[in-house]
Amino acid sequence: MVTKKFYIGALLLAVAAMAVLLGAARLYDDYKYASIERSVRDFTMESDETRLLMAYGEAFGKDDKQAYCEALEANRARQANRGYTLVSKLRELEKANLLADYAQVRRQYYLNNFELWLQQSAARNDCQMQTNSTLALFFVDTLTTCNDCIAQGELLNQIRSTCPNLALITLASDLRISPIDLAKKKFGVTHSPAIVINNVQTIFEPNTREELAKALGCA
C-alpha cells in the first residue's frame, strides 16, 4: 500500500537537502565572485585615479609637468604590476563556478584594461615616458581554453618580474567589446595569443623567452 506521507516527506527532505547544498554552493560561489570583484574594483579605482590625474594634467599639467608626469608614472607602475595574474584568477574561479554570473565582472575587468591601455598610450605621448619603457598589449581568448595564451601569459609575467619598465595589459579578444574590437582591427589581431608592442609591432606566434624579451626591450 502506498503511504503518501512517505513520498511527500521524502520530497520535502530532498528539496530541503538540495536547498541547503545549493544555498551553500551559492554562498561559496558568491564569496569567490566577491573576491574577484573586489580586485577588479580596486583596479577600477586606480583607473579612476589615473583618469583624474590626466584631467588634472589637461587643466594644470603644464604648470608643473614634472610632478604630473611622476605621478602618472607611479600609477603606471602600480597598475602594470597586475599584469596577467588577475586574468588567471578570473579564469580559474569561473571554471569552478556554478551559480554566480561572471559575465559582468569579466567585461568590467577588460574594459578597465582597455582604459588603462588608452591612459598609458596618452601618458607616453604627454610625458614622453622613459624611452626604455615598453607597452605590451596582450590579446587572449577567454571563453575557451587557450593553452598557448596561458603559456605566453606565464612567460610575459616572468619577463615582467625582471623588467619593471614593461607595462603589460591583457585584453580579451573574444568578448565582442566594441572598443577592443576596434583595437584588434587597428593592429591586425586576427587570432590569439597576440602581442602588440608599443602600439606598433604585432607578433602572433608563441615566442620563447629570449625572442620575447628582445622584442619587449627586456633582454
Partner: protein
Amino acid sequence: MPVDTRTRKKKQLSPLRRVAGGVAVIVGFLLLLWLLWNNPRYSLWILVGLSAIFFFSFSFYAIVAAFSPDRKPVAPAKWPTVTILMPSYNSAATIRQAVAAAQAMTYQGEKELIVIDDSSTDGSDKIAEQMGARVLRRKGDRGKAKALNHGIQQAKGEIIVALDSDTFAPTDALEKAIPYFGLDAKIGAVTLFITVANAKNMLERIQQLEYYIAFGFTAKTMGKVNGLIVTPGPMSAYRKSALEQVGGFDEKNMTEDMEIGLRLHEYGWKIECCTETLVPTVVPDTLSKLYRQRVRWYRGTIDNIREYFHMFLNSNYHDIGLFSYPMTAIYVATTMLVWTVIWFNVLATLADAAAFVQAFLKVGLTPTLHLEPLALVNTTALLVGASIAVWLVFLLRSISIAKVKLGPRHVLPALLIIMFYPTLNSFFYFASLYKEATKSEFSW
C-alpha cells in the same frame, strides 16, 4: 505447472537491427560527449540533477526506515515443508561445502535437498550424490531458470528455497526466513541478507561492502513497504503456490531472480526481507569475472525494465510502481550518464593537460600550475561530498544490521568503492546496453 507465455516471448532481432542498435548506442554516447565538450558546464548541472534524484531516494529510505515499523514474524504452529533446490553447473570447487551447509540447516519441519545438475562435466554431480543429496540430471539446453523449473516440478515442499551451489547457507537460515511467510498469506517470497564468503582480495572486499548496503539497509527498508524487486539468486525462499501461479522462472531471462520478483508483484504477491542471518556466497575474484557477472545482471535489468515498463509510476503496483521500479530504471539511465560525464571529464582533463604541457614546452617553459586556492573547493566537490556522506550513513546502517565489525582493511575498499567503483559499474552498464541493443548471445 502452467507457463506464463507473455514473459517467454523474446524479440529476435535481424542482423541489420542488431548493428543499428549498436550504432545507436555508440552514436548516442558520442553525441553526449560532443554536447559536454562544447558546453562543459552542462556536466555540473547534470551532477546537480543526479544529486536531487539521489537525495530524494535517500530521503525516502530514511523516512521509511524511521517511520515504518519492523514486522516481527512468529514461529508457525506447523512448519511448512521445504524443498531446497540447488542448481549446479561445473561447481566442483564449491558444491561440497554448499551441500554440507544446506544439509546442516536446522529446521523443525520437513525439508528435502535436490541438486539439479545442468550437464556438468567436472564431476560436481557425483560429489553431491556422494554427500547424500538427491541429484536430478538435466542434459542439453542449459540454464539456471530451466534447472529451477525442473526442480520445482519434482519438489514436495510448500516452500521452495533456491540456493546457489556456491552459497553456504547458515544453519539458522530456514528457521529465520520461513516464519515470514506466516505474516501474510500473500507473501510469495522472502529474501535473505547475502554477504561475501571470499572477501580476501581488494575486489572481493569492495563487493563485500557493496553487498552489505544492497542486502542490508536498502533491502530491509524496501521490505517494509513491499518494495523489493529482486529475490537474490544466491538464496531466496518462495511459496510454491505463488511460483506455480506465475508460471515459474522465466527461462529466457538473464536475471531470473529479478524477473520473478517483478512477476510476483504483477500477480499481487508480496516480497518480505529477512536480515536476521547472513548468507555468504562466492563473488567474482577477478575483474574479468566481475565484468561477465555484471554484464549478465545489467543486461537482465535493462531487459526487465523494458519488459515491465507498464509498472513505471503506476500506482496500481503501489510502492513498486511509484518508487522501486522507477528508481531502478532511473538508476540504470543515470549510471550510464555518470559514466559519460566522468569519462568526458577524464578525457577533457587529459586533453587539456597535454595541450597545456605542449604550449609551455613550445615557449621553453616548465609547465607550472598556479592553483587558485578558492577554486579548489567547488560545487562538484560539495555535491559529491554530501553524496558520499549519505552513502556512508547507508553503509553504517547496513553494518549495524549485519552485526559485523569492519576493520582498517576495509578503509581502502571503502575509498575505492566511492572513487572507482561507480565508474566501473557505469562502464559495465554501458557495455550491457550495447550488448542488449545488439542482442549478443549469453550463457549461464
